[in-house]
Structures are given as structure tokens and as C-alpha cells.
Symmetry: C2
Subunit: 381 residues, 2 copies
């Protein structure tokens, strides 16, 4: 077992109608003004925005709102909001939306306390040393952004989808009310399920040290995601399944699953970011294309863990059967498992590999995930 530091100071307020208390939660944290960040206009149409601002008003919290964050959130929007935060001396950022909104909120929180270009953090030219306080109200479960300090942002000028991570960006309080997540389309529910699974199996398969307890937690998360996704596809109104799905999604990337492991990497995320960046594929949809292909390429490097996965998650007796079962499950829930199904032409593979290789270099994986290797993996998709 490897040494580690585990530190996750985010308070999760989980349950029905908890967004109505957001003003009090923010006030209790000693904050008096926030930037509210949102995505589509749906959040206003469905009345949630008004309930949130009413709560802020009641608690005496002042606010400015910035709307229009999109899936695969864009740097220019982050910069627009940073300016608003700076111009108004706001003390915190409240992300009211899905993972893209929460991720943008964190980038804004870091950028608002920094004199340079916020992108400096993403290209590792600068390190986050201070930030505005972050709060989130999650309307989608997938990224675990509500319970970690990670932010993934798309630089629309350079076509780079890069990330930062700092405990300073962990939300102080995150509200998770699964009822707010019930309007997700079946398509995006599937993508979210893939994303959650991906957060756990990257380290599960790549770590050179992965204690049994960590494997058990990962398998518990995956089995629960599969179980609740299937319930929700059949019955989108099942609150308990929706809530369990939401909680498990947070557990999948809050620091628990890798604690004590050694050498885990995120090659599927690395490769997928190029699919999102170049073809604007939804992150989860890109992952379900990459993961089975990568597993086929990677399995012999850690065959015992693939056999374990097959047995524990699917009751299968070989690594290959486990991979096929996962791929079939992605198909079953409607997340694409080939480039073709994701609408990506095969002659785009080289461009994807080149884009992904820039990121694999940045993540210290460049010598393993060369352009050629990434092409070899994508050829299997």
C-alpha cells in the first residue's frame, strides 16, 4: 500500500429541496457575495434559479449572474465571468448546473484571484495558491465535480481540453438534490454512467499497486452505477435510484478510490479529450468509444485485474469476456462504442492521436501513449 494524503473538506448537503437553503449554507461560510454561474436557460424556466436567488436574498447574500456555460465548457466564458467577479469584488462562485458549470466555477474561482491568464494553471505555467470559495448545486451527476477540486476546460482557440486540480477549488458546500437531476435525457444519463465508471477503472487497471479494498470499492461503484442506470432507463422517476446514482458518482472521483494505490494514470480521459475537443462529442460518449478499445489494447499488461473485473462485475471467467460484457452494456444503454457510432470518420484517427499526444505529454504519459500507440488503440474502436 502506497503512502497518501486524503483530504476532502467539501460538505455535501444531499437531499430534496436542499437548494432552498443555499443562502444559509453560503452565509454560514462567512461569504457575503457570489457570482452565480449557470448553463442553459432551462435553469430559469424550471424555477430553480429563482428559488436559489430567493434563498440568497433571504440570507442577505448579494450576487451577479453569468449564464451560458456549455457542455465541454469554454475558456472565453470562464474569462468573461472572471472579469465580472473581479469587477464586483465577489467573494465566491456558485455553480448552478452540471459538471461543466461546476468546472467553470472552479476555474473562475482560481482566475479571479490571479493577475495573469487563468489558462496558465491549465498548461502548468502557474499553480493555484488562492481562490474564491466555490459552492455548487448540481443538476447532473457524472463528473464528481461537486466533491473534488478538479476542473476541465476547453480552450476554444488552441483546441486544447485541459484540466487543473487543487483542494483550494473543492467546493465548500455542494448541494446534491437528485430531483434536480431527473430531467436528464436517457442519452445523457448513459453518458454520465460511462463517465462515472471511467473515473474508477482507469486507476483500477493501470495502478501497479491497487489494494483489494480499493478494488472492492471500485466494483461496488460500478455495480451500483449499472444497477441504478438500468432502473432509471426503465423508470426515470425513481428517486431512490436517481439519488444513489448521484451519490455514487461523487464517490467515484473524490479521492477515495485511488487512496493507497500507486502508479495509476488516466489514459482513457487523455485520449477522449481529443474526441471532445475535435468533434465536440459528449465526454461520456467519447469515453465509451475509447474504453473498450483501450481495454483490448491494455489487458495483457494487467491480466489478473482484468480477470478479477470480469468475475466480480459481470460474473465472467476471462478478461476478454469482461471487456465484451462492458462494451455490450455501453451499447445496451445507448452510449456509442465505435468511432462510427459517435459520428467520427476513420480518417480522423491521426488528427485525434496527434491532439491526444500533446495531452499525454503534458500528463507525463507521452512515452507510453505516443501518436502511434493512440492510433493503434483508436483503430480498435
Amino acid at each position: 500500500m502506497n503512502d497518501f494524503t486524503y483530504y476532502n473538506p467539501t460538505k455535501i448537503e444531499f437531499g430534496k429541496a436542499k437548494e432552498n437553503n443555499i443562502g444559509q449554507y453560503i452565509k454560514d461560510s462567512g461569504v457575503k457575495s457570489v457570482l452565480i454561474l449557470t448553463g442553459s436557460s432551462r435553469i430559469k424556466d424550471n424555477g430553480v434559479f429563482k428559488r436559489v436567488t430567493d434563498s440568497l436574498d433571504s440570507a442577505g447574500i448579494t450576487y451577479k449572474a453569468v449564464e451560458g456555460v456549455v457542455s465541454n465548457p469554454l475558456l472565453w466564458k470562464v474569462n468573461e465571468a472572471i472579469k465580472v467577479a473581479k469587477d464586483n469584488n465577489l467573494e465566491a462562485v456558485l455553480g448552478l448546473g452540471g459538471g461543466s458549470v461546476a468546472d467553470s466555477a472552479k476555474a473562475i474561482a482560481a482566475g479571479a484571484m490571479y493577475d495573469g491568464d487563468v489558462w496558465d494553471f491549465f498548461i502548468q505555467k502557474a499553480v493555484v495558491t488562492k481562490a474564491l470559495k466555490v459552492f455548487t448545486i448540481m443538476t447532473l451527476a457524472a463528473t464528481a465535480s461537486e466533491m473534488n477540486g478538479n476542473s476541465v476546460i476547453m480552450n476554444d482557440e488552441t483546441q486544447q481540453k485541459y484540466s487543473i486540480a487543487s483542494v483550494l477549488l473543492n467546493p465548500v458546500v455542494s448541494v446534491v438534490n437528485a430531483e434536480l437531476q431527473a430531467s436528464v435525457t436517457p442519452e445523457y444519463l448513459a453518458y454520465s454512467a460511462v463517465d462515472i465508471i471511467s473515473h474508477t477503472i482507469e486507476v483500477y487497471f493501470t495502478a501497479s499497486v491497487h489494494p483489494n479494498f480499493n478494488s472492492r470499492i471500485v466494483e461496488s461503484i460500478i455495480k451500483t452505477v449499472m444497477e441504478t442506470t438500468e432502473i432509471l432507463i426503465a423508470n426515470p422517476d425513481n428517486y431512490d435510484a436517481r439519488a444513489e446514482f448521484a451519490w455514487v458518482s461523487a464517490q467515484a472521483l473524490n479521492g477515495l478510490t485511488p487512496a493507497g494505490t500507486l502508479g495509476g494514470t488516466f489514459p482513457n480521459h487523455c485520449i477522449e479529450h481529443s474526441l471532445s475537443a475535435l468533434y465536440n462529442v459528449a465526454h461520456g460518449a467519447g469515453l465509451s468509444v475509447v474504453i473498450p478499445a483501450w481495454m483490448k489494447w491494455h489487458k495483457d499488461q494487467n491480466i489478473k485485474q482484468y480477470e478479477r473485473f470480469a468475475k466480480e462485475v459481470f460474473g465472467k471467467n476471462s478478461a476478454d469476456e469482461g471487456i465484451v460484457a462492458l462494451e455490450a452494456w455501453f451499447d445496451k444503454i445507448g452510449s456509442p462504442t465505435t468511432l462510427e457510432k459517435a459520428g467520427i470518420p476513420r480518417d480522423g484517427i491521426k488528427g485525434l492521436a496527434q491532439n491526444a499526444h500533446e495531452l499525454s505529454n503534458l500528463w507525463g504519459l507521452g512515452s507510453i501513449y505516443t501518436v502511434e500507440v493512440i492510433m493503434e488503440i483508436l483503430e480498435k474502436a
Copy 2:
């Protein structure tokens, strides 16, 4: 799934030799003076105390030491240390020892900021609203005291073993170096294993709502405890097993396993506290006496969960077989499973039940766990 608040701001510094950095961890938290609390003189004999004070010296942290905390930690010792903390205006308490030391450190932290009698918190006459900062260096894995705000203290005058819980008492930083835990006797290793298991199965069996994810986490914890305990009995020097045991013990009582459940209670702890209080039985030893007896008494109230437990943990097909298997495992590792084995006379049952009933009343379980019911349960032990 039930609404909940999850908040665990303790930073865990997990790994070899991390106690040598304790001065820096405390300094980073803005603290300049601490009360060091220890148990037996072994902590000085083995050199750990000196390494810790050297680290404090290097970081410019001043300290006063109080030693002599015993298993089933006593109120008079807590009061002695509160006086030292108050007299010296100390800012924090560093518990260097096992669960008894950590629990005492928390009681001291609460008592040092309170004008009245610290026991007021335990009898629910007062609520903790402020406390000194708590730090721990754990030399025994069992109580999860390193990662929660719970404290259990024995009032030696009234023969009451009572508890408090407050997030204000969560350690700011806890060092978990499994090497410091390697000298535990096989006997206490077994008691610790029982204790960890007990922390998860009380809610597992008593909750009226217990999502599958929670059940999977509990089963993961139990399987890992059993696996690592058996490795450690055969080979006490196995660091990886020791470390995994330590980490799982923290996960068993840090707020994760009950999150989203409804109606869970701790009747085994309630009953066991009387065994510790009246016969000075080690907590884990008392639990292994109570748990199988309680399970036999309780199983029909939640038979499906008992069947699940039997299947998932032991691969057995009935609730009864699961209970027998757990009892046999307690026997196998050397933790007592009958009153007789724990050295408690059968004519003590009534006195135990009366003592436990006082606590069941305090915990709101008095109407279920009457003197008669507790006697009925203990008769099965």
C-alpha cells in the same frame, strides 16, 4: 435514499514515518502550542514520543505532555488534562496513541473551551460549540477516532461509558503510519477487527433504508478486515495488510457507511458499553460476545439483509449460517463469543442489562432495548 449531510474535513496523512512531519502539519494549521496526550510508557520506550517532540521542536510548537490514558479511557484523566490545557492556554491537543488516547484528546479539546464540567456533553446537558483543534497520531487501528468527531469516555465515578460526537472534534490532521501499529498483540488485533466490523454492521442490519451501495461498502470493509486480519495473524510484519487494515478501520466509522441510510442504531455498542464499564472487558472483546447473540435475537426483523450478509460475506445460503460463520470467525481469531469466555459470570446479566438500559434510554432506544430484552439477548451469549 434518505437525505443527509456528509462532512469530514479531517486530513489523513497516511504512510511510513509521517509522524516525523507532525510539527509541520500542526504549524500549517496555524497552531503554536499543543497538549500531547499519551497512554502507556511504551510510546516513550520505542522512541516515537521523542521523534514527535523533535518534530514539534523543529516547527517551533511548544507543548505540555500528559501521559497515562488507559483503555476504556477515564474521565478523571480527561479532567486532569483539561486543567493542564487551560492553565497553559494551549491551542490544540495531539493524541499520540490508540483510540482511547484519541477519544480522550477530543474530550479534552471540548472541555478546555468550556466553563462547566466536560461530562455535561456526555449526558447531553450541553452541546459542543467550540473546541481546541485536535490532531492524532494513531498507534492502533480500530475506533476510526482518527477520522471522526466521536469520543467515548468512561466516568469512573458513575460507571457510565458514554459518548459525544461533533464535527468540531474531528482531527484537523491525523497521521496513520501502520508501522506504529505493528506491535499490537494478536489478542488486541482480533478485538480491533471485531470493533471495525461492528461499526459497519450495526446500521447495516438496523436501518430501515440501506441502499445497495452502502451494503456493498460495508461488505467490502468486512471482507477486507477479515482478509487482512488473517494475513496479520499469520505474519504480523506484513506492512501492506497492516496498512489496509488501518485504512479500512477509518472508513468504517467516518460517515461514509451510513450516508443515505435511515433509522440505523447502535444497539450492540449500547449493550457492550456495560460489559466494558462493569467488567473492564476490552471493547472489541465485549462486542464479539454481544454481536452474535444480538444477531440471533434480531435476525427475523430484517431477514433479507441477514441473508444478503450470509451470501456476500461468507458465501452462505441462510441468515443462520451467516451468523454462525461470523461467530466462528470471531472464535478463530481469538475474540470471545460467550460471556464465559470473556470472564463474565452469568449472574451478572441483570446488572449488565440495567446498566445498558440507562444508555439505551439516553440513545432513544430504551423502549426497544428494555432491561428484559437486553437480558434476553445476553442470555444467548
